[in-house]
Symmetry: C2
Subunit: 498 residues, 2 copies
């Protein structure tokens, strides 16, 4: 492991953690964060040493409390700082003396409110001691495996009715890394991803990024075996050239999906007062992202949708898509969105057409079914029809990916086809995504079953088409750079061994 990566790894695998500003006061961030570590240590998830630091306490949650970092008898890998901004330089001086390796500064009150000098002071002290800094003005790190959890937002809340409900859930384990400049967007993302059953490998909120930047983290994640896709919320990029250089290396191996806010002039102004970001021209960002091979999401929903598609399915070898539906209207909507997104939905080859013709003659599918792409099996669809039609479409060498619209409402359709289509899709190296429309039981069941089995599901035809576009775009990027075959090889080996 190269030195730089090794240093960053301490944020996720510290052998010892000191929480500076730990407190007994129940509502304070310093309490919540210390309690996260304490609880994880008791459950033997966090296996390192844990030290609360507070000059006014002798013990917190049963742990001996130190009055300063330098008072801790053993070495300290990581410190988490939750004290007022103006005291942070002093804390960092002590950290240097103690030879601390890494620090997460949760506290705000730096560059984002105009205190750039204070922030620079902190950075300079850290440099003297060779300490890597995450933050300030951030939520820090969540890594379930080692129990590093600096999220200070309440996991649950109690309503006035007396009901306790989930408020900021800790995510499931998974292969998506989420990194974010905005803490609030970060927790919102955790909430979204948890509710959608999408698992997280690592979560990093880096705020003002006074030292560790988005590029550093993306570079680190390149080497992280648990991460298959990187989702990044950005308001600006600290060093453009470095970002492009590093991210380009990463995107040859792992997709990076970015949502970049501060696009508009008023948005850039708002971003400046948020994380002190200097947003710059959006066109320049577009160009940088393209060079870096980054997939840029247009909005929040596309951001998550695309991440899900890339985590579950291989990229496409071309842009011509087959659409298989039991619902005419939604089929048309899908075709529309595919074309708007630059994909094509061409007539089938003679060979494929003949196969469908034969199915009609055998009575396997209805004579009135449309079979010239989209294939519309109509409301008379059965599980078996979907399976047979999907197989034929996968076989067509001109079809580079399939969008399946399995509207569950049709009377003859059961849920059996879900497992069937999944099995068939595993015979091929082409991506497939699906859509079912609805927000009641059968729709939720259908989508969640597909997700569970590795075919990403969406609740609208357009969402499905946009996700397929990302699989096509990423495939084209990899192909241009000569690494598509290798990527698909690795992807399928990792995905289908499970």
């Amino acid at each position: 492991m190269e030195a730089n990566i090794k240093k960053l790894d301490v944020f996720f695998n510290p052998r010892s953690v000191a929480v500076i500003g730990a407190t007994k006061k129940v509502d304070k961030a310093g309490h919540v964060i210390f309690k996260n570590f304490a609880a994880n240590k008791m459950r033997r998830v966090f296996k390192g040493e844990l030290y609360p630091v507070n000059p006014n306490e002798d013990s917190i949650l049963g742990f001996k409390c130190y009055h300063s970092i330098t008072g801790i008898p053993e070495p300290v890998d990581l410190i988490v700082i939750i004290v007022p901004a103006k005291i942070v330089p002093e804390i960092m001086q002590e950290a240097v003396a103690k030879k601390v390796k890494t620090a997460i500064i949760i506290s705000s009150g730096f560059r984002e409110v105009g205190n750039s000098e204070l922030e620079e002071q902190v950075v300079n002290i850290a440099k003297q001691g060779n300490i890597r800094l995450l933050g300030p003005n951030c939520l820090g790190v969540f890594y379930a495996k080692t129990g590093v959890d600096t999220l200070f937002l309440p996991e649950t809340k109690v309503l006035t009715t007396g009901d306790e409900v989930v408020a900021t859930p800790r995510p499931l384990a998974g292969n998506i890394a989420m990194i974010t400049q905005s803490g609030a967007f970060g927790v919102a993302a955790l909430d979204y991803l948890t509710g959608r059953q999408m698992g997280i490998s690592k979560f990093v909120s880096f705020g003002n990024k006074c030292d560790v930047t988005e590029s550093d983290i993306i570079h680190y994640l390149l080497h992280d075996k648990e991460t298959k896709v990187i989702l990044a919320y950005l308001e600006d990029i600290k060093y453009g050239r470095e970002f492009v250089k590093i991210t380009r290396k990463v995107t040859m191996k792992k997709p990076v999906v970015v949502i970049k806010s501060g696009k508009s002039s008023a948005g850039a102004r708002a971003a400046a007062s948020h994380t002190g970001a200097i947003a710059g021209s959006d066109k320049i960002y577009d160009a940088a992202f393209e060079q870096a091979g980054v997939i840029r999401a247009r909005d929040m929903e596309e951001f998550f949708d695309v991440g899900k598609a890339l985590a579950m399915q291989p990229p496409a070898l071309g842009k011509n898509i087959g659409i298989l539906t039991d619902a005419g209207g939604p089929g048309v909507m899908t075709v529309d969105e595919c074309e708007i997104q630059g994909l094509t939905v061409e007539h089938f080859s003679e060979e494929t057409s003949q196969k469908f013709q034969k199915l009609k003659e055998q009575g396997t599918i209805l004579k009135i079914a449309a079979t010239s792409n989209p294939v519309d099996l109509t409301g008379s669809v059965t599980d078996e029809m979907f399976e047979i039609a999907a197989d034929i479409m996968f076989q067509d060498k001109d079809i580079c990916g399939i969008i399946l619209l399995g509207l569950h409402h049709m009377p003859g359709l059961r849920e059996r086809y879900i497992d069937g289509v999944v099995e068939i899709s595993k015979k091929y190296r082409k991506p497939i995504v699906m859509c079912d429309i609805g927000e009641t039981e059968m729709a939720l069941y259908t989508r969640s079953r597909f997700d569970k089995l590795g075919i990403p599901s969406y609740s609208s035809p357009e969402d499905a088409a946009r996700s397929m576009r990302a699989l096509v775009a990423y495939g084209a990027y990899l192909q241009k750079n000569g690494c598509l075959e290798q990527y698909i090889e690795d992807f399928l080996r990792n995905t289908r061994k499970a």
Copy 2:
């Protein structure tokens, strides 16, 4: 009531219904539809007379079965036809003899599969008897109040686990009319709307629209007191000039939101084989919709989102929007989307700025809060801060609408502010929409509570901004036509009396 409207009203308020093709065979559409009416009659929801018609049966579900329409001793207002296409002309001949007023032809196998002649034959027979026809190739009508329900898709399904789950729910009562050329999209919409707790006034699936067109139904709905917003899924428009003329009249009184598919060339091809639609140039449709004052949704989600906004909130008097948030990043995303959508997010007036300055001096809101629009109350937000800030923003005469981002994750935020903001909003005539991000308990609770109290909630910043754009666009349209004041007057009277 003018004659034309009176005739169409029979579809929703028939005094007697005959189901042609009613059967005992459990999975058949003719069974499901007859059973809908029978069940509704037994529950005294459907109060008319009910007659099954089938030459091979003497009784169905306890009702005496007639071998032909002409055999029914009493007058018949509405017939629902579920027999093979080729028999439909014969049925229609009998209907003419029986002096039936209206007919819903569920059966497919007409123009959409190339049988235009058969369809014309049916239309001609109907004309002779002055019978209004809905369909063919449609799902017909759902009107909860009178128990007219020709939906033949199963309300529930039984999974292989033995669990019975909702599949095609009947919607709640509400003020949104849903009309659709695609039956599949129609039931999907019912499923979506039910799951999202959005109620329906009337549902009409009109399929090939051989007689009753989208324009007829939209015209009918103008006079329907239960309908406040009309949502229409279209693949083509039958008579363009008529559509513009009629719809323009309607949109001065009620918003009409359209999703038009078959936009792309491949999409148009797919639409042709679906409902026989001749999609034509999308630009022409754009122009027609603009002339007609129709709000065109870009995709499925926007379609429902915009419908919800227009059903719950008055249109805006201008395009400058105030953004109130507790989350910086999502605030920036909202500003971006507002600008992309042609809205503005300008600095506040001196007066408003001073009010916020005063709050900071009093310590009511934090000194580090951004207060130059967006107002970012930061993670230290409390219920009270949201209420006070919303009130100040509503007072600003340059703010024409408010987007509230109430991310529930912040530690000091409870759910009390929801009712507070709702109460404050009722003092003003300006629209407000809200967003909370997340898919677990507190997010779902927050959004559903706002919805219930009349402030439309969205799960992403961009969705909220797009919905506000529709309120702005509709306001501008009404203003241009001199009917904005009247509309708002009526809207607020109807909405807030409840």
